[in-house]
């Protein structure tokens, strides 16, 4: 089949979410590996934990984030604003003292630094909210036991592979399965 047609087909297929809870991180890692072998795409798997685990600990694919881009944009905007304000105020209040230039750089540097800092801070906040998709309207599938050490494996499954995936998860020691959609 033509690749793009295949993609459309996959997207229009009815998907539902399955949350598998594991009481042991090793079992969750094995289950994650197994479902990927079964054909579930990395983008359809979310691993939920009560504390940060090292990247790749569950054999998951590295999902890149763009948080680092945000402060750079913010810093650039903050710096530009600061330069605009400092140059603007000095030019609109031109005091020539001791033959020094109207645009005095040492204090301008302080404001530029402050503006850059503030821009970077504000955009970092925006960045983390955006990248974490917070706040969301609904929590989706979740279980409070995840904060107590359980590992949650959240999968997007289709009608085709639903049964096989659930069986696989149970085989790898899932304590409980929850479904939505």
């Amino acid at each position: 089949m033509i690749p793009w047609l295949n993609k459309i087909r996959e997207n229009v297929m009815v998907k539902k979410q399955v949350l598998a809870l594991f009481d042991d991180a090793a079992k969750a890692a094995d289950a994650n590996e197994a479902v990927m072998k079964e054909g579930v795409k990395p983008g359809d798997i979310e691993i939920m934990t009560g504390c940060p685990y090292p990247e790749g600990a569950f054999g998951e694919h590295d999902k890149p984030h763009r948080v680092y881009r945000f402060p750079f944009i913010g810093a650039l905007l903050g710096f530009s604003m600061a330069m605009l304000i400092t140059a603007g105020t000095q030019l609109s209040w031109p005091l020539i003292t001791g033959g020094k230039p109207i645009l005095s750089l040492p204090p301008m540097v302080i404001i530029a630094y402050e503006g850059t800092l503030l821009g970077a801070v504000l955009f970092t906040i925006v960045g983390v909210l955006f990248e974490s998709r917070l706040p969301r309207v609904g929590l989706g599938l979740y279980d409070d036991r995840i904060t107590e050490g359980y590992i949650g494996l959240l999968l997007n499954v289709t009608e085709d592979n639903d049964f096989a995936i659930k069986k696989l998860l149970q085989k790898h020691g899932a304590q409980e399965l929850k479904e939505e959609g």
């Binding site: 504390c51 984030h65 948080v67 040492p106 302080i110 974490s132 107590e148 949650g152």
Partner: protein, 467 residues
């Protein structure tokens, strides 16, 4: 509050499961004990006393700028202690210090007290004189500041911006770092506080992407907080102290001011940690390891306190320039001699003599005592610097023309000082019942990486570092 708890500390290693940590911290956060009520009540009362003191100064005092000296000292003290405290968690996280995990929240929770500092700062910025009173002829009378010849209210605007930036950064850091714990508290506890926590952490699920984005943001905000911290100390010490004393031009002073902030950051966290362990029942989280490790940093910073102070002092003393000698006389050897000696003893000599002994350092009481003395010394020192600077009537000129006598505190001044401390304590205690005071996610992370292992006849601690 229960005294026997799970998890527990065994040979310096926290024992327990994720669930133990969650249940214990959630229970402690949701419980309001008798002692908590008493201390919170006292902090309310102190804040009230401070507000009355402030109103007395504002409405019955003179127009003289010197009446705000004690408020300037109080704000300087809070910048040095409460707003510096998050630096401890920033430092521990940046070097992946395992011992710092349980105390990270204790430190960064102080960021929220920045709201109180902002409030107390407003009257000061109003009372701060312009760079030059006559804008048509600025050179006639000009204060020597870092702002050269700029618009007359440059310090007012940009110092406020610096403080605002630090407060925003600190609160953002606190909220982003505590989202997982607020979600846990919100889900497991009931009541109004739990619902606030749940709302603040809405939709947190702990996916790997969320953890990753959060971690990146914490790293970024930590770096930005450090930058903001240094800027604010530079600007506040320059504009609210140095530039008010003609002839005081010292490039080491702002650096020393910030360094003193780092020393007080350790001291603030140490004292808070001791109180939580002694009276709050958090014995499993704060063991000797935490006190010992933080005590070593505090000792090093106490030695640096002396080094930086001496470098500044020596340059003035060796140069023998009359304007600089007058500053030395005013702030160190004559008017404020006693306050300087007290600060010197409490910020350098006493911590050195206490913490130099490993046996004392390796206890909970020894470092806490040194920390308490440092905090008292810092208060005395800030009074010396800011009350002295604000008592100078004529800030425009090249040298001190006349030296006012040491300004002793009036009753409203004393009320403002205790009120400032009460305000910080009150904000901290209220917020600590919405945001858990123990960083649960970091404590759980510690459980993943720390264990005991035997080597021949002895057990030792094995610490894993994920990256």
């Amino acid at each position: 509050m229960k005294t026997t708890i799970s998890p527990s500390l065994h040979d310096g290693v926290l024992q327990g499961t994720f669930g133990d940590v969650s249940r214990d911290v959630v229970q402690r956060t949701s419980t309001i004990g008798g002692l908590y009520k008493k201390v919170l009540g006292a902090s309310f009362a102190l804040t009230g006393v401070g507000v009355v003191g402030f109103l007395l100064i504002a409405f019955t005092g003179s127009d003289d700028r010197s009446q705000w000296g004690y408020l300037a000292a109080m704000v300087g003290y809070l910048l040095t202690t409460a707003l510096a405290a998050p630096m401890v968690s920033i430092a521990c996280r940046s070097v992946r210090a395992n011992w710092g995990k349980p105390l990270a929240r204790v430190a960064e929770l102080y960021a929220i007290t920045g709201l109180g500092v902002l409030l107390a700062y407003v009257p000061l910025v109003v009372a701060l004189p312009a760079l030059y009173p006559n804008s048509d002829a600025p050179r006639e009378s000009l204060r020597h500041t870092i702002w050269v010849f700029w618009h007359p209210h440059a310090p007012h605007i940009y110092d406020s911006l610096a403080l605002l930036t630090l407060v925003i950064t600190g609160i953002a850091l606190l909220l982003i770092s505590s989202i997982p714990d607020m979600a846990d508290f919100g889900a497991k506890a009931t009541g109004k506080r739990a619902s606030i926590a749940a709302r603040l952490s809405k939709s947190w699920r702990g996916t790997q992407k969320q953890w990753k984005a959060r971690r990146a943001a914490i790293g970024l905000l930590s770096g930005l907080y450090f930058m903001g911290f240094l800027t604010l100390h530079y600007q506040y010490s320059s504009d609210f102290a140095m530039s008010l004393v003609p002839g005081w031009k010292d490039s080491i002073f702002p650096v020393w001011h910030a360094l003193s902030g780092l020393q007080c950051a350790c001291a603030t966290v140490m004292v808070t940690m001791y109180a939580l362990r002694r009276w709050g029942g958090y014995t499993a989280y704060f063991g000797v390891n935490q006190f010992w490790s933080l005590g070593k940093i505090m000792l090093a910073l106490s030695l640096l306190w002396f080094y930086f102070w001496f470098m500044g002092f020596f340059t003035f003393w060796y140069g023998r320039i009359p304007a600089e000698m007058a500053v030395l006389e005013f702030l160190f050897t004559e008017q404020y001699r006693i306050l300087f000696l007290v600060a010197f003893i409490l910020n350098f000599l006493a911590p050195l003599l206490i913490l130099v002994w490993n046996k004392v350092r390796r206890s909970t009481g020894g470092p806490a005592l040194a920390a308490l003395l440092i905090l008292i010394g810092a208060l005395v020192d800030r009074i010396r610097i800011y009350v002295g600077s604000w008592s100078i009537e004529d800030s425009f000129g090249h040298s001190l023309k006349e030296m006012p006598p040491a300004q002793l505190p009036t009753i409203p001044d004393a009320m403002v000082i205790v009120g400032g401390i009460g305000l910080v304590l009150m904000i901290y205690m209220i917020v600590a019942k919405v945001i858990p005071i123990i960083s649960m996610w970091e404590t759980k992370e510690q459980l993943l990486y720390v264990s005991h292992r035997s080597l021949l006849k002895k057990k030792y601690m094995l610490i894993g570092k994920p990256d």
